[in-house]
């Protein structure tokens, strides 16, 4: 049987040759992402902005009356509602922001929610409420805080683990690669203005985990080769390590990709944003493992001595005492 080989044996791609242009590109991506986040802002869903989101199905219509819904809900005076198709043409999600000052009134958000649903149901008797999320300003603020904490905490914790298992340069390299992944994902959400919800933060945390998978595999091979080829120049050794693990990197990314695509196409609409973020993050993470995590090691001065125990003065004396030296 002839087996499939996606990556030919003994590839020898000179990844490092392009490290400076790619590193510049990465920096540009990070800066650009944050610029997008700061200028466009993220399109926060009710989880983070507070307010009310109703999902409805119009059972006796082919398409939902989006324009008139916008007008109807807008006339309630809670500000500009976001009405969009959700899943099927006759399904919509209606999002109403929390009015100014409602943060301090605990029951305000739910009261608005009930009124939005009642108003739409009265106008369109065939509108079936599939679900609604109502989040008060206070709870939304707590979600924002805990999201930031969870992202920072996860990044620092895994970087710390890498530091303990490898060397500080590896921890710092992994942390920077993760910062890149998180930044670019945020930037994409700022650019596309896709809804940013709790699920998206969950997706970014998953991306942190899987991006690190790649980084760890490359780092592990670098460590192994540093011990094996003591005299090899670092750049060459790095290229060798990435090439040796390239087949694995491609296979794993591909298998995760083929598992995710059906979920993106056939899966429930409420998962679309989350799965899209993870799918895109998969590529960003793989790229950063090769072009950020690796070159950073070289610049931070990893040497083969990092993993070979140094002979201390005491060791030397013991050897002399045993007559070995």
């Amino acid at each position: 049987m002839k087996l499939l080989k996606l990556v030919p044996d003994n590839t020898n791609i000179k990844f490092l040759k392009l490290r400076i242009p790619f590193f510049v590109l990465s920096i540009v991506l990070i800066v650009g992402s944050w610029a997008a986040v700061l200028t466009n802002g993220l399109n926060f869903g009710v989880d983070f902005a507070g307010g009310q989101e109703v999902r409805m199905t119009f059972t006796e219509r082919q398409t939902a009356p989006i324009a008139s819904l916008r007008e109807l809900v807008g006339s309630l005076g809670y500000g500009e509602p976001a009405v969009q198709e959700f899943g099927a043409p006759n399904q919509v999600s209606v999002r109403v922001p929390l009015p100014e000052g409602a943060e301090d009134t605990p029951g305000a958000a739910t009261a608005i929610g009930a009124r939005v649903i009642d108003t739409i149901s009265a106008e369109y008797p065939d509108a079936r409420t599939d679900g609604n999320d109502t989040v008060s300003g206070k709870v939304a603020g707590e979600f924002r805080d805990s999201a930031i904490l969870a992202l920072l905490g996860a990044m620092l914790a895994v970087a710390l683990y890498i530091w303990v298992r490898f060397e500080w340069q590896f921890g710092a390299g992994a942390l920077f690669a993760l910062f890149h992944d998180v930044s670019v994902t945020l930037g994409l959400f700022a650019l596309t203005q896709m809804e940013f919800s709790l699920q998206i933060v969950a997706a970014i945390l998953a991306i942190i985990g899987y991006s690190l998978n790649d980084t760890v595999v490359v780092y592990d091979r670098i460590r192994e080769n540093l011990k094996k080829y003591r005299k090899m120049p670092l750049g060459e050794l790095f290229d060798l390590s990435v090439n040796e693990t390239l087949a694995r990197t491609v296979m794993t990314s591909l298998s995760l990709f083929v598992a995710l695509i059906p979920l993106l196409i056939f899966g429930p609409p409420s998962l679309f944003g989350m799965v899209a973020a993870i799918t895109v993050g998969l590529f960003i993470g793989t790229y950063s493992s090769v072009y950020m995590a690796g070159p950073l090691l070289i610049w931070m001065g990893v040497t083969s001595n990092s993993f070979v125990p140094q002979e201390t003065a005491m060791d030397r004396q013991e050897k002399i005492a045993r007559g070995e030296a």
């Binding site: 999201a147 969870a150 899987y210 595999v217 694995r248 598992a259 429930p268």
Partner: protein, 532 residues
């Protein structure tokens, strides 16, 4: 490395079977079959986003508890001073700034007053709940201690949780989850609820029932302008009553609370044909109510619910039987709701809904169907990719993948975890990522073969050298999973649970089980070459 003694094989297969069998009841349920009732039935709980239902987060305002305690203390102090013999006269009573302060008309009473008040400053516990200070020799100031307020909030929330439970039980829903969260919050989860609004209205009602005498001396114009005479309070009429939009002035003190009820039933008054709620007091409440109505026959009293006047009927005769009737322009539904709320007791503190998530049952079913379809297609794609790339070793990886899914489901059922919509995404990601261990191992075997190692040595080296990276990668994933689990609400936590358990089961199946299978095959077939 490739030696597997019999006991180890038995143990590994035993673990695999045990965990996988646990997934069967859940799989039966999902496919609509009946699991035999005689057998144990561990089930994966479906989250509200899949089963349909309501999640409510209720919050009490700490300030309300403070205000309530202050009011009670004022009542207590006035009563103590009045009942002292000889009576201690006080004046300039104020509760401004969250403190109770008053002046003794005669400074000589200071020690007697202190002696009376000090016992009530200490609650049922050993915590000192109030601080007492004397200013200028005759003004006494009572301040609530933080410990006292915290204790009071804690007690209030405990009994509020109980009341919420009783009210939801009255709705007759199945398996509600009611948990206190933090210091001032209660999480309520009710699966498969037909009318979430009814639940919200029921929980939104504090059901604090009061009977207070109408202040007949108040000038109507002042009352409507919101100006209360000394010693009186002004309450608005409840929406839906004929007097809606008007106000009523009532005497602040001397009324009674509807705390001491033994029953409440919705009914119809045979004479007026109005919807009413019939309430029954316990012995203590009945006695108080009898006293109030006896002493004030012929005068009107206001029936106040949660700060709104329902009605202000005349007391035609003393009511001494311990039961009374509340009228207030009810519909049959609102009468029934009030009856439930009164039966289950008043909430010691008002609760507001600060987060609500409701999912209709149809949407949940649709999500499960779509999620399972996507999972099936994704699994087939991964399986095809693995077998096409690694041949026999791909078949092992596939078998491990299938077992991994069953074990993951089984462990979740055993530990009673909840499968949520993001959890389905977690399953798909686990399927895609679980083969990473096999990819690492198989690629390493390829490499070792390419370097000229013999089959057994190459396989041994493949498992040994790859395990380091597998270990590190999974630990870092685990850390990210823990960060996920500590964050967000139920659905996101369901995602974390699947990822974390998936890490454990996929390493077990992908590394340990496949090694056993590969070892067995190598020993039986003794191949000189392998296709990988």
């Amino acid at each position: 490395m490739l030696e597997f003694p019999l006991w180890k094989k038995v143990l590994l297969w035993g673990l695999t079977l045990a965990a996988s069998v646990l997934s069967l009841p859940s799989l039966f349920t999902v496919s609509g079959l009946d699991w035999p009732a005689a057998l144990p039935n561990p089930q994966v709980n479906l989250g509200l986003d899949l089963a349909g239902g309501s999640h409510l987060l209720l919050e009490a305002k700490a300030g309300d508890v403070r205000a309530q305690r202050l009011e009670n203390m004022e009542d207590t102090v006035r009563q103590l001073m009045r009942n002292a013999s000889p009576r201690i006269r006080i004046g300039d009573v104020s509760t401004a700034g969250g403190r109770l302060s008053f002046i003794l008309e005669s400074p000589a009473d200071i020690d007697r007053a202190r002696g009376l008040i000090e016992p009530v400053m200490q609650g049922a516990t050993t915590i000192r709940e109030w601080d007492l200070a004397v200013v200028d020799g005759q003004r006494m100031v009572l301040t609530q201690t933080d410990a006292g307020v915290n204790q009071a909030i804690d007690d209030a929330m405990d009994s509020a949780t109980e009341v919420v439970r009783r009210r939801i039980d009255e709705l007759g829903t199945r398996e509600p989850t009611i948990i206190r969260q933090g210091s001032t919050r209660i999480v309520v989860q009710v699966p498969g609820l037909e009318d979430p609004d009814a639940l919200k209205r029921l929980l939104g009602q504090t059901a604090q029932l009061e009977f207070k005498l109408v202040d007949l001396n108040a000038l109507p114009a002042n009352v409507q302008a919101g100006i209360a005479p000394a010693g009186s309070q002004i309450f608005p009429y409840a929406p839906g009553t004929p007097q809606e939009g008007q106000f009523e002035a009532v005497r602040r003190l001397g009324g009674i609370r509807g705390d001491n009820l033994t029953g409440a039933q919705a009914g119809v008054d045979p004479q007026t044909n109005q919807n009413v709620v019939n309430i029954t007091f316990d012995a203590q409440g009945g006695a108080k109510f009898a006293k109030l109505t006896t002493e004030n026959t012929g005068k009107p009293f206001a029936i106040i619910l949660d700060g709104q006047v329902l009605s202000a009927p005349n007391i035609n005769e003393p009511i001494i039987g311990g039961s009374a009737q509340i009228s207030g322009s009810f519909t049959p539904e609102t009468a029934n709701q009030l009856a439930i709320a009164l039966r289950s007791g008043a909430l010691p503190v008002p609760l507001a809904v600060v987060e609500e998530r409701t999912v209709g049952p149809d949407l949940g079913k649709d999500s499960i169907r779509k999620g399972l379809l996507a999972m099936a297609i994704g699994s087939i794609a991964v399986i095809v990719l693995m077998i096409a790339t690694y041949g026999r070793f791909g078949v092992y990886a596939t078998a491990a993948l299938v077992i991994n899914v069953f074990m993951l489901l089984g462990v979740m059922a055993l530990l009673g975890f909840t499968l949520t919509l993001p959890g389905i995404a977690g399953f798909v990601i686990t399927i895609g990522a679980a083969v990473d261990a096999n990819v690492l191992i198989n690629e390493r075997i390829r490499e070792e073969r390419a370097r000229g190692r013999k089959v057994v040595a190459a396989v041994e080296a493949g498992y040994k050298e790859a395990s380091r990276a597998i270990y590190d990668a999974n630990v870092t994933n685990f850390i990210a999973g823990v960060a996920l689990a500590t964050f967000g609400t139920g659905p996101v936590r369901g995602f974390a649970v699947v990822l974390i358990i998936g890490i454990v089961t996929s390493v077990f199946a992908g590394v340990t089980l496949t090694r056993m299978w590969v070892a067995g095959w190598l020993r039986r077939a003794r191949p000189n070459d392998i296709t990988i």
